[in-house]
């Protein structure tokens, strides 16, 4: 069941000039939240924005009864969220969307870029409970875009690429040496990040016949399946990213990969 509630900002932490973590305390006991779920955040006092903004749930703290979001500043709305102070209220609709599915066998790869790594902490925790071995591959333009790798080291090995080579291997994620291994042995590849990255990863997954799930970030007006603005083309017609997704198996999408 979806909820709409006023959360309270209890933590706000800038990771660098354009990325921050914001922790919000729930007014009621949190429901179960699955990796892939997102929330629609109302920017009530933000001038110039109108619609809510969707963000993946990065972290759930059952003890503090809080949710944390990992946010990259893109425009007006994220800039406003970046300026919030502790104690301020945020109205949130959650938990929204579907979730990542369990892998077909016990070794998985998660590929992320930018704020696309957001759902992988919850996913890591979920899969660890099932005893799945995980590898993480994160890419970015430069060192500044590679954040919080240490958060993932508790779940598995973390590899990095940057376009300028300032950290990790130089190049795109798709060029990383771990993807050059033959055979590529993963029971599932999960990916979230910029569209071109996800498409390139989906292409590799297809070549190696590895199941691949992507988490899409289509623009949304409602987040609850009411407006039909967020659609993605699938083999069985247009689907809503907010309700049928945000996680899709790439085989169901009509992507030319």
């Amino acid at each position: 069941m979806k909820r709409i509630e006023d959360f309270t900002v209890i933590g706000h932490h800038w990771l660098n000039y354009e990325n921050f973590l914001i922790e919000l305390e729930a007014p009621e006991e949190l429901p179960d939240i699955r990796a892939g779920n997102f929330a629609e955040v109302l920017l009530k006092n933000s001038p110039g924005t109108f619609l809510r903004r969707p963000f993946s749930i990065f972290e759930v703290d059952k003890e503090k009864n809080s949710l944390t979001f990992y946010i990259k500043v893109i425009g007006k709305g994220t800039r406003y969220l970046g300026k919030l102070r502790k104690g301020e209220k945020l109205n949130i609709i959650y938990p929204l969307g579907n979730a990542f599915s369990n892998p077909y066998h016990d070794k998985v790869l998660m590929v992320g870029g930018g704020s696309g790594i957001a759902p992988f902490v919850l996913l890591g925790r979920q899969l660890r409970e099932k005893g799945i071995r995980m590898t993480f591959l994160f890419g970015g333009r430069e060192k500044d875009n590679i954040l919080m790798t240490e958060r993932f080291e508790e779940f598995g090995k973390v590899f990095v690429t940057t376009e300028d080579g300032s950290v990790g291997e130089k190049g795109l994620v798709t060029q990383h040496s771990i993807l050059a291994k033959r055979p590529l042995e993963y029971g599932m590849i999960y990916t979230c990040g910029p569209d071109p990255m996800m498409k390139a990863i989906a292409h590799i997954a297809k070549q190696h016949q590895i199941p691949c799930e992507v988490s899409l970030e289509n623009t949304m007006a409602c987040g609850i399946g009411a407006c039909l603005c967020c659609i993605v083309e699938t083999n069985t017609g247009n689907k809503c990213v907010c309700t049928d997704g945000p996680v899709f198996n790439v085989n169901d999408l009509t992507w030319q990969t």
């Binding site: 709409i4 109108f50 809510r52 623009t219 609850i224 009411a226 039909l228």
Partner: protein
């Protein structure tokens, strides 16, 4: 509690607050947030004869105090509605009002006929104002002759209360309202969205895949309000006011301008609870001002 009930021809609404087509899906999406039975009615997502995938992505652009959409009537077709959705939602203790769309007059008529069979449907809304389809839709609603032709044909086929939804993209909306009323509309609803456009200056490309889309939200409220007032003065059937209604005050303004009922659209995206809050807000206003009935507001603007 003041008397909130209103009458749209044969349709009796427990209160004047309904939700606008395309912004409330089939109502089910909102039951986690509100008791939809508290609404006067639900205008459900636009229906067409056949399954329609709608327009390509992106379909949405945020604008100053508003949004553009180019959904393009995505729906699974009238038969799916009749067989799958209707049985699921007909038990709602509020009026379900289908929004009827077509690309030809025949389409409109066929969809209307299929809806005649549904006992719990008391009214339909004829949408001759969708700006997001190449044929049909708004093309019908911006020309007097085609608006009249569509209304006449559907009137003949329709056994329910017939509400015709007008396009604001016209020079003279009062004239259009008169025309469809003369052609048999039992009520008119207005406005549908304004044809607009958004550009990404950085990419030098349109934001929407279809280039243009329909503008909704508080940005359009002043124009919608003026049009409702003009139409109220021009016709003697009930007027349903739509356009940027975000709260009870906005709803009351539309009623003062002449609306018998109102539809809440884009506001449902900002807060899914808002429609029911508006019902309560209207009641509070009436009580605070010692009105016993919501009828005391309709067209009560002192000019």
């Amino acid at each position: 509690m003041a008397d909130l009930s209103v009458q749209i021809h044969d349709l009796h609404l427990k209160n004047p607050v309904t939700t606008a087509s395309g912004t409330f899906a089939y109502g089910e999406e909102f039951i986690d947030f509100i008791d939809v039975n508290k609404l006067g009615g639900i205008f459900v997502k636009g229906l067409t004869l056949e399954n329609r995938e709608g327009n390509p992505y992106p379909r949405m652009a945020e604008t100053s105090s508003g949004m553009l959409n180019s959904v393009g009537l995505q729906n699974k077709g009238i038969d799916h509605f009749v067989n799958v959705i209707y049985p699921r939602i007909k038990h709602f203790d509020t009026h379900i009002i289908p929004n009827v769309n077509g690309f030809t007059i025949e389409d409109y008529v066929k969809v209307t006929e299929k809806l005649n069979e549904l006992e719990d449907i008391k009214a339909i809304e004829l949408n001759i104002s969708c700006p997001n389809v190449k044929e049909g839709g708004m093309a019908f609603g911006i020309k007097r002759t085609s608006a009249v032709a569509a209304t006449t044909a559907v009137r003949k086929a329709c056994k329910k209360t017939l509400i015709v939804k007008l396009s604001p993209n016209v020079t003279d909306i009062a004239d259009m309202a008169r025309a469809v009323v003369d052609a048999g509309a039992d009520a008119v609803s207005l406005v549908n969205t304004f044809l607009g456009m958004a550009i990404d200056a950085g990419k030098r490309k349109p934001v929407l895949a279809t280039v243009t889309g329909g503008l909704s939200g508080p940005a359009i409220k002043p124009i919608a309000l003026r049009m409702v007032w003009e139409v109220y003065k021009a016709v003697s059937v009930p007027v349903i006011g739509i356009g940027g209604i975000m709260n009870a005050t906005d709803a009351i303004e539309f009623m003062l301008a002449g609306a018998t009922a109102i539809q809440v659209g884009t506001a449902n995206f900002i807060d899914p609870r808002v429609s029911v809050q508006i019902v309560d807000g209207i009641n509070d206003y009436l009580e605070k001002n010692n009105f016993t009935s919501v009828h005391q507001l309709i067209g009560a603007l002192e000019t």
